[in-house]
Symmetry: C2
Subunit: 341 residues, 2 copies
């Protein structure tokens, strides 16, 4: 129906028009007492404490408009914050969203980002309860997620003890492999894979994992209830994030690569196929240093039964640093630094 | 000690080095249970509800590095969010901060922004409890403020009733006049005023009000306790923000310009001097359409004694829109639209 010249931009709509247009997409969540439209939102915090985390996503650094759809960018932005809440052992309750964008951004694009944020929040049991819009030369999303601990103690990075078991849940390495396929030109656009690879459901699944991670939200509170001694969201890479956990707890973390590679959380077949297609020698590197899948890693006392969906991949011992099959690995090997791209 | 080539940038420090450097500047607040360094912060919410608001500030749109010091930019970014919390009738408890910046940003600049955020949070009784850093081509701040209602109902924009008195507290028009002095070239840099105007403490005070607003944080909870029926933070201009309040409450708002101009919240002498220096015909326009002072406006039942520091400037009646001395004024006259700069 619309020709090229008929695209409505957010400058056409104006600040208040844009807010109105996206607010109409947002159902009120269970935890929301006052939502968008006042000076601030009011959210239930029945526990008497609130878990809160914030992340920035900048176009060209965290996402590309030609690689991901706005719906996926919104879902991903929400996911990484909601996963941080889950990694404390809390249930997500609400999201606040800052959207900065150039005036020529199509309204439909902004609407789809917000739709993605709302959908992913819904998956996690939360809702988008507040926000802000601003002009900027590139699209930027600033997301804050809130959560409730339901009377439990938060699970910190500092509680791992020698003798604990190390376990993971969610997906590891798929997002990094998907990104490698995209940057390697073996997959394009918001859609399928290029050329003969288009037929590979395995590889398409990796690209999808990059575009739309599926963090295991309920696994965080479940690990908390089961007595996890420490927990972290894997967003910068397993080695780097476990390095934070080892340092925070003053312990050594030992990963058994055999357990890891064989676990249900690693799509070994797909990763092998991607490595072959890209000429990458070591597919397990994606699992060890790739981030953005938002898997969860946690430690549990040795005699504690792991909650459903969690798989042991190693153990905690006295010492420091992260070790793979007994070999020390730097805690930032390959991990992401936003100022050293 | 440092020559030009010795400036340490945030790229030199790296993401984790920067986080470490700024975290060292941040005292833990009373409400903070878990602060920076884990997947998320945990903040006390004794009321069982949490007030939450978020704002984006983009370099070149909300601030300029050559007009404001990093300390002032940090203070202002915190102030506008903390004022939103106060405008709900809540006491600010915590701030979460997203900082995006180019890698060549001096570490000292980032440190001073965070110092400003921490100082202003301290003024309001809150602390910086969490955050995120990212690369970007310009400096961007994404601030989320949280607050506690201490058992009171939040004061919304929708509660004004015909017969209520309209009152304000804080400062009105000074920030807009200060900005006009800066854009008019009558004041420069992060320091004093240019030429002969440098001697004018009045004008310097307006520039200072733009660079470092002083929102009346405690007045929000006090108005709430005193029975305010509606309240709003004046950030986009008195007429525009009261327009939101009138629309939200389904009432007409009547401002008496004589009461407003004579109130202690308007620096009439300084505004007159600035208008004369700039050749601006109507200094009261800054009071009516200027934003960013983060004054508070509220309505109170007619027979309620106004809390200390609040001054009546008008009344609420049946009808719609905002009127000045009986004359209707558009609710967005001159107010800011971020996509129509």
């Amino acid at each position: 129906m619309e020709g090229r010249e008929a695209v409505v931009t957010i400058a056409d709509l104006g600040e208040f028009g844009l807010i109105e247009a996206v607010t109409a997409l947002l159902p009120a969540g269970d935890a929301q007492i006052v939502g968008i439209g006042d000076d601030a939102a009011v959210i239930r915090a029945p526990d008497g404490r609130v878990v809160a985390t914030t992340d920035l996503l900048v176009e060209g650094r965290h996402f590309r408009r030609d690689w991901s759809s706005p719906l996926d960018i919104g879902r991903k932005a929400a996911a990484q914050n909601l996963a941080d809440v889950a990694a404390m052992g809390a249930r997500p309750t609400a999201l606040l969203v800052g959207l900065a964008a150039p005036g020529d951004l199509p309204v439909d694009w902004a609407r789809d980002v917000v739709r993605g944020l709302a959908e992913e929040s819904g998956q996690a049991g939360a809702s988008v309860a507040g926000g802000d819009v601003s002009g900027a030369d590139v699209v930027m999303l600033a997301i804050t997620a809130l959560g409730d601990l339901a009377g439990r103690d938060p699970v910190l990075r500092s509680g791992a003890r020698p003798g604990d078991r190390l376990a993971v849940t969610g997906t590891l390495g798929s997002s990094a492999a998907g990104l490698a396929l995209l940057t390697g030109g073996l997959a394009g656009g918001a859609g399928g894979l290029a050329g003969g690879l288009a037929a590979s459901a395995d590889l398409a699944g990796l690209v999808a994992a990059h575009q739309r991670p599926r963090p295991p939200y309920t696994a965080g509170p479940q690990a908390c209830a089961a007595g996890a001694t420490s927990m972290i969201d894997i967003s910068d890479g397993l080695l780097q994030d476990l390095g934070h956990l080892a340092a925070g707890s003053g312990v050594a973390i030992d990963i058994q690569s055999g357990l890891l590679a064989a676990s249900a959380h690693v799509r070994a077949g797909a990763l092998r196929a991607a490595a072959a297609a890209l000429g990458v020698p070591d597919w397990l590197a994606w699992v060890l240093v790739g981030g953005e899948d938002h898997a969860l890693a946690a430690t549990f006392p040795r005699d504690t039964a792991l909650p459903s969906g969690w798989t042991p991949i190693g153990a905690v011992s006295a010492g420091s640093g992260v070790h793979v099959d007994g070999q020390a690995r730097g805690d930032q090997s390959g991990g992401w630094d936003h100022f050293r791209p």
